[in-house]
């Protein structure tokens, strides 16, 4: 189509800057690690899975101009309870179904309060963040020890169950040397890329985030769209929780998903999704999440103290946002245009 000949290199760069960020970070990693193997690279994929899935959900919500701080706590609650469900049923399918449905319900609560009751998303999800994690920790202490796999403060899967082996396979297995969880992340990304770019629902997400008033006057039910974005995020958090337990076979309610809401936001933002809504692409989230995993690997490769990890991630986030915000302003100044 005629679309291609319009894209100048600078426009391409502006649209796919998340790829550039990833490549730069990856280049640093390649230089820092002594031997870069295919396996090592595929591990990046595997370790990005949970953050990536949460980031996709966060991306949807950010597109509508809202925010969800509770995804990390949702992950803790859902992974913990999913372990319990697995221990009870010994079934992969039921566990997955439970995680997704329960996630949808948690998201529904957030979405109702934000979309329908019109409470500020920051406060609502801050509150549910506290609530969800607290429930996860409380239940862990007070549930029957049998159900949580015998541990005291950790939900542990019962390894004697029949389907445990296939569970383990799912989390650690590979398909043509590519980790299964990585494939799941890729498939989910593609699904959401399709939903956001090629369906009417996707267009509405963008419209609500871009100009809520105009969206309402065009007949879009703003509250329903916001509600649905939160529910979808809850379902993705459920899937993320499922991936978490297939990889770890346990969930610690105190540490699982700790500050993951921040990583998810960072992945979405690194992927080019605007926090004020209406702008960005879901594809970017995949690269944003992987960039963050690679930063982890760099720190390990350089044998640095892992406690400096978050500081480096924070600095990179600031840099990228600075370029995003200040870049267009500088460009327009260079062109001598009047600022709008």
């Amino acid at each position: 189509m005629s679309k291609q000949n319009r894209l100048s290199p600078s426009k391409l760069l502006a649209q796919y800057h998340y790829v550039v960020v990833f490549l730069v970070v990856f280049a640093v990693y390649a230089a820092a690690s002594s031997s870069l193997t295919w396996n090592g690279m595929m591990n990046i994929f595997r370790h990005s899975a949970v953050i990536g899935i949460l980031g996709l959900g966060m991306g949807l919500i950010c597109l509508t101009g809202e925010i969800d701080l509770s995804v990390g706590s949702m992950l803790a609650l859902l992974s913990g309870f999913s372990v319990v469900v697995f221990n009870l049923t010994d079934s992969i399918a039921v566990t997955l179904l439970f995680a997704v449905v329960c996630g949808a319900l948690l998201g529904l609560l957030n979405g109702f309060l934000v979309g329908v009751a019109e409470m500020p998303a920051f406060i609502v999800t801050l509150a549910t963040m506290l609530i969800y994690r607290s429930i996860a920790q409380y239940a862990c202490q007070n549930l029957d020890k049998e159900l949580i796999g015998g541990g005291s403060s950790v939900y542990r899967m019962i390894t004697d169950h029949n389907s445990y082996q296939s569970f383990y396979q799912l989390g650690n297995g590979r398909l043509l040397t590519i980790p299964v969880v990585g494939i799941i992340l890729t498939v989910m990304t593609l699904v959401l890329v399709y939903v956001t770019t090629s369906t009417k629902y996707g267009k509405k997400l963008y419209a609500v985030g871009s100009n809520q008033k105009a969206a309402r006057l065009a007949g879009i039910s703003v509250s329903k769209i916001k509600l649905s974005a939160f529910v979808l995020t809850g379902m993705l958090a459920g899937l993320g929780a499922f991936l978490w337990i297939v990889m770890n076979a346990s969930a610690d309610p105190a540490t699982t998903g700790n500050s993951y809401e921040m990583y998810a936001i960072a992945a979405a933002v690194l992927g080019g999704i605007s926090m004020s809504g209406g702008r960005g692409r879901c594809l970017g989230v995949l690269f944003g999440a992987m960039s963050y995993t690679v930063i982890d690997k760099i720190i390990v490769a350089l044998k640095m103290d892992s406690l400096i990890n978050d500081a480096i991630k924070g600095v990179i986030l600031l840099l990228v946002i600075f370029i995003q915000v200040a870049g267009p302003r500088m460009r327009s100044r260079l062109h001598g245009k009047k600022s709008v």
Binding site: K3, K200, K213, A215, L217, G219
Partner: protein, 496 residues
């Protein structure tokens, strides 16, 4: 010696003259009405007087002082206070905090001397005869009290001239009486007022003298007692040539819309019947209710009484989606705020409304959408490059055509156009008028809310004039001229 003398004021923005050789003089202790239509240059003149804009040429003498370079702070120091239409008060602070903001009395270590300020404010209110509690929260005050507070604030710091920009738009009759009472008392103390209003009864009640501006030029100044409302209206409007070049009467069909006792937020007891193929203009001054009626028909403004029938079927108000399914569409006013989705391209902007009606079909049919887009692009003469271009790359007139296409694409039969030519250049305006007439000829029914009378004359079969939320008069096409419309819109009949 007059308090204010402005002579030969010239001002142009980007080469377009907005004020040419305008004089204005205000005596001590008078209420001076500054009159003119929207865009006549009143606000620019006031902005020059208060130092917001600099003048290109001309002199300003205030209180005998030659003000060569007027600045906002200087105007304030001289005692010129501008009470804007939207009040500039801090709702979350108390009355006394609002008065003394940035000018607080302090004690040692910068501690605020609350007691002294409250006492002074109280003493001042008593002297002025204003019943306000200095300790009350501004957010809790009635609008009229806020207006009084705004005026009191100016007077507290020794204002000699108060500019009141349409101070009565949000006030009830009683509140207006209260405000005028206070203006009367202050006048006797030698304080002058510049009073900007479109409401004739008020002007004749409160003003002593007047100055009329039209298209940035001075028309006349004089004593209110020597002129009638009709004469003032004629001065404001001028003898602009109304050309009836594109309007042609059309046959009308069955009843499309019928409102009975339609009442709600900003309008009351409206009866209106519109037939297929008609273009009916709703007009009135800002806030008169004409735009509000359109919004209520489309379901985005509260309705508390009356019935609406569309194509003979009763439609419950209050839901945009229901209105859309009843084949109603609204092109809202304020394009930038209510229509433009800045992050979407032209095609997406156009299809936004249709997508909400075709929910069952989840996927987007790119080919079909591009075809429909090309169809509307030709029909509406939209000048653009690619459907994938940003909506922001188009001029205002072309943007508006895209939004018109957004609604035509929903197969709506009744089009509500709220100020469709706002902020659009003259050429594009003419095109939009022609499009409206074409659409009406093809069987669409159009309700147009506008303040521009030439627009009504060029397109509408009839014109409903609103004043204070009520439908005053429905004028047939031949009865529409600026003077008649203005007379009903300002309720000038009540005075004579």
């Amino acid at each position: 010696m007059k308090l204010l003398e402005m002579h030969g004021i010239y001002k142009s923005f980007c080469g377009v003259p907005v004020l040419e050789d305008v004089p204005l003089s205000v005596k001590r202790g008078e209420v001076h009405a500054l009159l003119g239509e929207n865009g006549a240059g009143k606000s620019t003149l006031m902005n020059i007087l208060t130092g917001v804009h600099s003048r290109d040429e001309g002199t300003i003498y205030f209180d005998g002082e030659d003000c060569q370079h007027m600045t906002v702070t200087q105007a304030e120091k001289l005692g010129i206070a501008f009470v804007h239409q939207e009040l500039n008060l801090f709702e979350d602070l108390t009355v006394w905090e609002n008065i003394f903001l940035t000018r607080e009395y302090t004690k040692a270590f910068g501690r605020v001397d609350k007691k002294r300020m409250v006492e002074q404010a109280q003493a001042f209110f008593t002297r002025m005869g204003v019943h306000l509690d200095p300790l009350a929260l501004v957010g809790d005050l009635k609008i009229s009290e806020k207006q009084l507070l705004e005026i009191a604030k100016a007077l507290f710091f020794q204002a000699k001239l108060l500019i009141l920009d349409e101070p009565t738009t949000s006030l009830s009759q009683n509140e207006i009486a209260h405000l005028f009472d206070m203006i009367g008392r202050l006048k006797e103390k030698g304080i002058s007022f510049l009073f900007i209003s479109h409401k004739m009864p008020e002007i004749f009640q409160i003003a002593d003298r007047y100055t009329v501006l039209r298209n940035g030029k001075f028309v006349r100044t004089g004593e209110i007692s020597e002129i009638t409302p009709d004469e003032i209206t004629a001065l404001m409007v001028g003898k602009s040539g109304l050309t009836n070049d594109i309007y042609r009467p059309r046959p009308t069909g069955e009843t499309v819309l019928k409102l009975e006792h339609w009442s709600g937020d900003g309008f009351a007891d409206v009866d209106l019947e519109v037939k297929r193929g008609q273009i009916i203009a709703l007009t009135g001054l800002q806030g008169s209710g004409s735009g509000e009626v359109l919004q209520s028909i489309f379901g985005c403004r509260a309705v508390d009484g009356g019935t609406m029938e569309v194509f003979g079927k009763q439609v419950q108000p209050g839901s945009i989606h229901r209105a859309m399914r009843a084949k109603i569409a609204m092109l809202p006013g304020d394009r930038k705020e209510n229509s433009v989705v800045p992050d979407m391209n032209l095609l997406e902007n156009m299809y936004l409304a249709e997508h909400t009606l075709s929910l069952g079909d989840f996927c987007i049919h790119k080919r079909l959408e591009n075809q429909r887009f090309d169809h509307y692009r030709e029909l509406l003469h939209i000048r653009m490059n690619q459907p994938a271009d940003s909506i922001l790359s188009l001029s205002g007139g072309n943007q508006q055509k895209v939004f018109l296409a957004r609604w035509l694409n929903t197969n709506a039969e009744l089009l509500l156009l709220d100020n469709p030519t706002q902020g659009i250049d003259v050429g594009a305006k003419a095109e939009i008028y022609e499009l409206m007439l074409e659409l009406a000829a093809s069987g669409k029914t159009i309700l147009l809310s506008t303040q521009e009378i030439p627009e009504i004359y060029k397109t509408a079969d009839a014109c409903a004039v609103f004043y204070n939320g009520r439908l005053m008069k429905i004028l047939a096409h031949d009865e529409v001229d600026e003077e008649t419309v203005m007379r009903y819109a300002t309720n000038a009949n009540e005075v004579s």
